[in-house]
Symmetry: C2
Subunit: 751 residues, 2 copies
Amino acid sequence: MAEKTVLNWQVGWSDSADEAPARMVPAQVPGAVQLDWARAEGWGDHTYGENWRQYGWMEDKYWTYRARIEPTLLSAEERLIFVSLGIDYSFRVLLNGEELLRQEGMFTPVELDVTDAAGAGGTLEIIVDPAPKRTTAPHDRSQAAHSCKPAVSYGWDWHPRLVTLGIWDETYLTSIPSHRLTEAEVIYTLSEDLTTASLTLTACLGAPADGELAWVVRDPNGEEVLRRTVPISAADRGIATDRAELARLMLWWPHDQGEQPLYTSEVMWLPSDLALATDIRVQRIGFRRVRLVMHEGAWREPSTFPKSRSHPPTTLEINGRRVFGKGTNWVHPDIFPGRFDREMYSALLQLAKDAHMNLLRVWGGGVVNKKSFFELCDEMGLMVWQEFPLACNLYPDDPAYLSVLDRESRSIVRRLRGHASLVLWCGGNELFNAWSGMTDQSLPLRLLNANCLELDSGTPFLMTSPLDGMGHGHYMFRYSETKDVLQAMIEADNTAYTEFGMPAPAPAELIRRFIPEAEWFPPRPGTSWESHHAFKALSDNMWLMEDHLEHYFGPSDSLEQLVERGQLLQSVGYTAIYEEARRQKPKCAMALNWCYNEPWPAAANNSIVCWPAVPKPGYYAVQAACRPVLASARIPRFDWREGEWFEPELWLLNDSTNALPPGSIEAWLRLPDGTRRLLMRWEHEGAGAGENSRGPTARFRMPAIGSGRMQLQLEATGHPEWNSLYTLLLKGAEDRAPARQLLNLQEEAME
Amino acid sequence: MAEKTVLNWQVGWSDSADEAPARMVPAQVPGAVQLDWARAEGWGDHTYGENWRQYGWMEDKYWTYRARIEPTLLSAEERLIFVSLGIDYSFRVLLNGEELLRQEGMFTPVELDVTDAAGAGGTLEIIVDPAPKRTTAPHDRSQAAHSCKPAVSYGWDWHPRLVTLGIWDETYLTSIPSHRLTEAEVIYTLSEDLTTASLTLTACLGAPADGELAWVVRDPNGEEVLRRTVPISAADRGIATDRAELARLMLWWPHDQGEQPLYTSEVMWLPSDLALATDIRVQRIGFRRVRLVMHEGAWREPSTFPKSRSHPPTTLEINGRRVFGKGTNWVHPDIFPGRFDREMYSALLQLAKDAHMNLLRVWGGGVVNKKSFFELCDEMGLMVWQEFPLACNLYPDDPAYLSVLDRESRSIVRRLRGHASLVLWCGGNELFNAWSGMTDQSLPLRLLNANCLELDSGTPFLMTSPLDGMGHGHYMFRYSETKDVLQAMIEADNTAYTEFGMPAPAPAELIRRFIPEAEWFPPRPGTSWESHHAFKALSDNMWLMEDHLEHYFGPSDSLEQLVERGQLLQSVGYTAIYEEARRQKPKCAMALNWCYNEPWPAAANNSIVCWPAVPKPGYYAVQAACRPVLASARIPRFDWREGEWFEPELWLLNDSTNALPPGSIEAWLRLPDGTRRLLMRWEHEGAGAGENSRGPTARFRMPAIGSGRMQLQLEATGHPEWNSLYTLLLKGAEDRAPARQLLNLQEEAME
């Protein structure tokens, strides 16, 4: 395997494609032109205060990267190749002023022969065009509607307007033999009983030659379980295929269902002509079968005439076992994809796994992650729902757009299809909702379906989320004057909750790092709080939602108090949604909150992990709600009044692969005055593997002991790890909040 | 254009593939082996009584067609070619005992070079395999679930078990020059304003040669509107493409929306070597743009959170204008596709057009029709919804099946995509319902979507019907003890009614022709009545449904009386459904009854046209309900009692392209005693083009004048062609039918 030489890049901007930059500054690659320029100018961190506003002008410039290729000694057999795994977004590559490539799209790798420059050296230039913008579109995400540029950087309710440009993935120079292996990919299908894999190896040489391939497969312990010699010949244009069976398979599972055994396939190229160089390709394989199946009972609905169809399937079946998809929506871990790296991914993915999540929906507003993301997911047993870069826009049936989407989507599928963790393809986000206006007839989505079928037919494909039966939202605690999220979720009846939010402020100590001191408290619109999404994000009160906090708790006196209250509501809300979604199993098959992380420090957001990887209290609430086994209570409201009947329904939730034995669960209520009442003791009969058990409903009259927080405490005898706590409010008769008008539930709020 | 020689075929059967038939009989081609054998044996007509039972054994035999190719004089440039447009279903073709082709699938044409037989002559054999049957399947339609054989002949509730086999479409021998045109197809796209077509001609020679193509397009009046000379060369492998623009287009419309101008494209091949033969290809083109779009208001639903998606689009938009799809489900016009011909199609299609229908759903249980069907639809302005041969089965993700489906579907799309009438592709019938068990993830449907996208991206594609929001069924007058079809339809809320049935007996004089005299009256199960679907079709009482007739009318004394009553209920029911579907426009976009015609004489059926092309009274009721403009009444029940308040709501329905001026409509009730009461006069304000107008609701107390039929009569002043009649029942207080148990509404009934 050849060495990779990272070039010394400089970057500068100009107003037109023909004009050379007036000034060049050092460039970090991978990275972004914005980061390079800010570094050269000595700007303050873009995450602080209003600093992000300095970057606005850059999206409309032409940016030229320039690097010197030094003279390189090559053998007659060698070629000098320039490789870039990703350049954001539309660009030309020039060698000594001559154009080698013009490309639109950041997901199709660049591989260019620059051997001409090996002798005397040469100058490589990458000229990046201004960010694509649909003509006549307003200054928002809809500017991205006619390109494959991820829409998020055009501004979202949790992302500032900062349209990234530049080299965003690994980029280097390398010298390689002409007759190397350019491809050596193993595809498999599993036997119906899942014990045997049929492997198909397809290999290809850069230039036809005679020789053979030594193909070895090792099991996760390094033991050789397959060895084949595959002849390859110039007569067959240097293309070879081979098929083999692999028995006694160890299957890859999501981490909450089993192990993650990873096999290794090595293909070594052994030319007959000993003067030619050998080459080797290594691929890691986790064997699993993925299906998206109907939930139990789905075919019984609808039951009336005129009869429509049953809801489409949303239940993941891995290796023949139905797996509840418990997880979250993954967004950019940083504004700049050029900064995404294994370390950043690792910290966030480990937190997700620690929270018992098994499924990440990688939202279509952002980029398709780098290689290390998928390697980590393979290793950690995290399933990935991968969307293509379409979100909340009307992507057109236009031939020019379709041709870019065709190439980009093929590049994406080819790159990711070998990963065990990749369990679901999806066209993109909310494309069938009013604010996007696409339908099943939209050619971009029919094209993505066709490409996924052709290149990766073993992985299910959704055109978008939500589909019929699935639900997105809502994103707040109080749905109306009379209904909070606890009740709303009990009334909901969806097959999968693939987005639901619950906002909370960031911890006060973080807020103090990116909001200027003069603005700390009280938070006000028109300050850095607004830029950091506390106000006017989706609507005026989002995402700080002080009106909700005041409704329950009255005015806050300090930043700490405000934050604590907001974070409490997030914890209570997310607990309610995740647990109710699990109680609705098997009709419900997924619970994925919006959103997991964030690309920069939001003052308030639906995320449970602050940028870069700091858990909010809500994270721990989600972690508790996602435990494989827990005692759970269906509680129809957060705030209670004296004299009301409190009737929590008890459940034993089990997503584990074990059957649970009979036992007992006690429900205690700790009242605001510190006293603790035993509401009931449930002698449960256990639960089957992966099955919930529904228990009795307690009944207790709220006493007149004043106002304050109280706790419902569920205690599982002998299993303290199943215990659960629910914080609730008790209000005395005197403590009536003023009536308020109905909260705005307009769908515009979701845009 | 070469002459077509029809061969003299004989046919015989054997028990195995290797065995020769013991006896050969004359074969009619196209036809079916069953018809040939029955003719040779002198059997009675298969449509009479129980005669169809004689045919059962034939489906499991090997059938050998044999014909002699006589010595043929060919020039050096000529090849002798055997062509068959369709052989049902799996077969081999042999020349002098040597296998030339093995094929599974009846929709991919056969074209074989048999030049070897030109000199001395030869023997051509087609050995047709037994009908495909999924192993372990019961003796029903599910035997067809692993093949592309249309499922209907395995038995349906209106089709006897009679699995056709043999040569079913045009089949001949022809001598052709090697360098002829094998392809010359024009594809077009229309400009956004629909005034200009961009034409792309793709032409191909059977063997590469130099020369040119003279390409001429003529408008519907025969005027030349385009002439191009396109060079073609052996160097380009005899393949040429050309592009041209055609302005001032006359657009093709469905017959109720405008004219059907058909252009002609002629491509003449003019070789440079004058020794080579010229060739010509002619194609007819109707220019139109088809889209499937969301109905008005669709994006506002759903309005609540968690938010799912809006219903998928079902509104046809032709040339930018939304067109209500008013029509029917087309099934086989005969048991034997080999007998389908232009005359048979023409009679049925003219009746459909005369009934103001503009859309035919060609149901996936049957074959894809022959060329003349689509030529007639192009000429008559009838739109075609074409399904692939999948119906009510779980078609598998199996590679063997997928490869046949891939080839067959490509053949189908290539053959039909040039027809203006073809406005909708669909995967097949009721595939997303319980009795089929397929989903959006099923690979056969993803494959069909991909193939339609690749080969005909301008035509919308549905995976199946019904989709979410669409409705199928029910298929009877009384939905329950308390609800009839009139009320059920008012409560229905679908985006398209793409199947709904209402059974009626055939006319008595027809019944007497195919039911033996001894069985005429009263009809009984276990007789020919049952074979001809009067009993035990979907359930015991279907399709004669005497219990419904008795409920309203008491026992019938004669065949004539029974038939009259059943036909009345069909007329009343279909009137109610079509008109209510139209009243629900624009949310509702289609009304297609189940079914239009039938493949043989059914004693009772949901069809409105008896085999071969005899309208029932229900046909005329549908014709009235489908008039472009009519006065209509929303009536919530068929039978009324004295003292009840009768409250019909008046409407003016307008599917025409004209705005209607203000006017008046009178509602009269003609009571059983012959008296006629004016209920109200509605001074309406007219209606916009293609828009309905909802009027007032009358209110009238049913008088105590005994029992009998009555009529609501709507009379539009100055527009007698808009008048409508509704037959209803009035029952006196003494005339109470016995209470009955709830009718069986189980979904099994739909299978």
